[in-house]
């Protein structure tokens, strides 16, 4: 996946809580098995469109509901690389990390003023090495992200490759122990 370090650009604002992944990517397009080209279906049943902005400022519990990774692929297809919200659906947030999209969780007051700034077309700078979001001339707003996720994004690591490279022996040892303790899982 593409690494994430810093980006600067304008932001789209979708100020509504509990936007689920059915709204982001309606189910009737889930029969498409490609990952690319899904941007055309993002928010297909809403008037909301994302055009040429790398940041989306969203509401609480953004991406709740279905685990469909197509929601992230569709946003990526619209050019979105960072989503700022007071909170995310857990599976959606994990899918973001695995596709080089940075989910930034901030408190509701910070997100509220970022919605206003996004609507005014102000420039957002998201800095993952520094863990800050800067909007226009504001003081940079710090955010927290678990260090393993930050490293994965900064380096563009592929989780499968990383596990295979690092943990082969540990996995084999686990299986050997489990096979003797719970043989019914291996018959």
């Amino acid at each position: 996946m593409e690494a994430f370090t810093r980006l600067t650009g304008r932001a789209a604002s979708l100020d509504e809580d509990n936007i689920d992944t059915d709204v982001i990517y309606p189910a009737r397009f889930l029969t498409i098995t490609a990952r690319d080209g899904l941007g055309a279906y993002a928010f297909a049943d809403r008037a909301f469109r994302i055009k040429d902005v790398p940041v989306l400022v969203a509401g609480a519990n953004f991406g709740c509901g279905s685990s469909r990774e197509q929601a992230v692929w569709a946003l990526l297809g619209c050019g979105v690389r960072c989503i700022i919200a007071p909170g995310f659906g857990e599976i959606f947030a994990g899918n973001c990390i695995r596709n080089g999209v940075l989910p930034v969780t901030l408190d509701a007051a910070d997100v509220a003023r970022m919605h206003r700034a996004a609507s005014k077309g102000e420039a957002f700078t998201v800095d993952l090495p520094a863990c800050t979001v800067q909007v226009g001339a504001w003081q940079p707003v710090p955010f927290a992200i678990p260090e393993p996720q930050r490293q994965a994004l900064l380096n563009g690591w592929d989780e499968t490759a990383a596990i295979l490279a690092r943990d082969g022996d540990a996995i084999a040892a686990f299986e050997q122990r489990q096979r003797s303790e719970q043989p019914w899982l291996y018959s």
């Binding site: 029969t31 709740c64 509901g65 990774e69 994990g94 695995r98 499968t160 943990d167 019914w184």
Partner: protein, 469 residues
């Protein structure tokens, strides 16, 4: 200090402890379906990787399959190609696959338990958020994305962040005609659509001990609608009796050894939880949703809320939901006329769900102008329902009797609402467009959905069945 069921499941699957609570976990089983697997298989092919353990995966097409008849050709060529791709991948990678016409076909979350693929004490994943269902067996089961599906195929592992723990203590006897679905809808209305986010939820207490496996599955299934990826019930005698003799369940000496292990999984008496809730079920009323999020629900004899009387931060959300749903503030829920009824989905399509719906439907007729369908969760459930005479009851009452699949829960096949149509549904999500673009969904139990079919509007099943018990 004692450990919780969740901690025991987690600790027993750590391959390598990681930083910031993110451990490498071993994944024992994966259910594979047509929507979240093509990209995962392609990632394997592109990287030249094999499946680490083919026997730990079970594949079935459920989301987009037609339910009208297995003999008709699929009308949607894109969906048919997606199913064919799953079939081809299963063949090429050596994964067990249940074909559409086979006796083992059904919704992943129905056939996993039915076939004993789901077992207590295991980790189980699927590229589907309702994988929470399998927690009813005391399995650590959670939904994942397609990328993670590929990681599990290649490594049998996933990096996961350990959740906080929440225990929901349920007591009191579930009243007649109240169902596990009503417990779920009442709980979600109380704590909200993100109320359990970040937590692994364990359902416990005397009312859980008294609940059958189908009810436990419904409750765990709906846990994702409160924002949690994990719903759990400790395995007990009810679990063991349900599992014994199923195709994938251990047998002989292995069974005894397994049960001994499974009995050790229950939370210790002195285990601590990060959050505890209690719910008294003795006065639980049938619940229905009025909005576009599963937490927007109320007792069936209640009313659609007035946005103006809600907390300031909720007003816009409620107003928007009512606008989409075409409802007036303050109107009685029981006055809302419906066009369609859907009894099915991984939440409520098991034999117990069909039995209670059939009890309501027996000797009655679907209201004029209402189109109602029953979609069993699996071929085995369908066959059992036919053997028990339930299918005849439904057909005689005017319900359509279908083949298994996700059907109108996700509307990826022909089963979908037209714009503006209103549905009484036993599924799990009332999101905008979930049952078809512009469709309006009211979530409820199988008993309530059958009552809605008979009366043509949202109805209190206790009134419909008054005097019959």
């Amino acid at each position: 200090m004692g450990r919780t069921l969740y901690a025991k499941l987690w600790d027993s699957h750590v391959v390598r402890p990681g930083d910031a609570g993110e451990d490498l976990l071993y994944i024992d089983r994966q259910l594979v379906h047509e929507v979240s697997s093509p990209q995962a298989f392609r990632a394997l092919t592109d990287a030249g990787r094999a499946l680490r353990r083919t026997e730990t995966h079970l594949a079935v097409a459920d989301h987009a399959v037609p339910t009208q008849s297995r003999d008709l050709p699929a009308t949607d060529p894109v969906a048919a190609a997606q199913v064919a791709e799953l079939e081809g991948n299963a063949r090429d990678f050596g994964v067990r696959y249940h074909p559409l016409n086979g006796a083992g076909h059904g919704i992943v979350h129905v056939i996993g338990p039915e076939q004993g693929f789901t077992l207590p004490g295991i980790t189980l994943v699927c590229g589907d958020s309702h994988t929470t269902t399998h927690g009813a067996f005391g399995a650590l089961a959670f939904g994942i994305g397609a990328s993670e599906c590929g990681t599990v195929m290649a490594t049998q592992c996933l990096v996961q962040k350990r959740a906080a723990t929440m225990r929901v203590n349920l007591h009191g006897r579930l009243p007649r005609w109240a169902c596990a679905k009503d417990i779920a809808l009442a709980l979600i209305a109380r704590i909200g659509a993100q109320g359990a986010r970040g937590y692994a939820v364990e359902y416990a207490g005397p009312a859980i001990a008294a609940l059958d496996m189908a009810g436990r599955m419904t409750l765990c299934n709906m846990t994702i609608e409160a924002g949690s990826r994990i719903g759990l019930v400790a395995p007990d005698e009810t679990t063991f009796a349900w599992l014994k003799g199923r195709a994938g369940a251990p047998a002989g000496a292995d069974w005894d050894r397994a049960v001994t292990y499974w009995q050790s999984l229950a939370s210790d008496a002195d285990a601590q939880y990060d959050r505890e809730l209690a719910m008294d079920l003795s006065a639980l009323e049938p619940h229905v949703t009025w909005g576009t999020s599963p937490d927007q629900g109320a007792p069936v004899n209640g009313a659609v809320p007035e946005p103006g009387s809600a907390a300031p931060e909720d007003q816009a959300r409620i107003a928007r939901a009512l606008d989409y749903m075409g409802l007036e503030p303050g109107m009685a829920l029981a006055d809302i006329a419906i066009d369609r009824v859907f009894i099915g989905s991984c939440t409520n399509s098991r034999i117990e769900d069909l039995r209670i719906a059939a009890q309501v439907a027996q000797g009655r007729k679907v209201a004029s102008g209402v189109r109602a369908m029953v979609v069993p969760g699996s071929a085995a459930t369908k066959q059992q329902a036919e053997a028990e005479g339930l299918a005849d009851i439904f057909r005689a009452a005017g319900f359509e009797w279908r083949d298994a699949g996700c059907s109108m829960c996700v509307a990826m096949n022909e089963d979908r609402l037209a714009p503006g149509e209103r549905c009484a549904s036993t599924s799990n999500r009332n999101f905008e467009g979930r049952q078809g673009q512009g469709g309006r969904t009211h979530l409820m139990s199988p008993a309530s959905a059958a009552a809605a079919a008979i009366t043509g509007c949202i109805a209190d099943v206790r009134d419909v069945m008054a005097g019959t018990d």
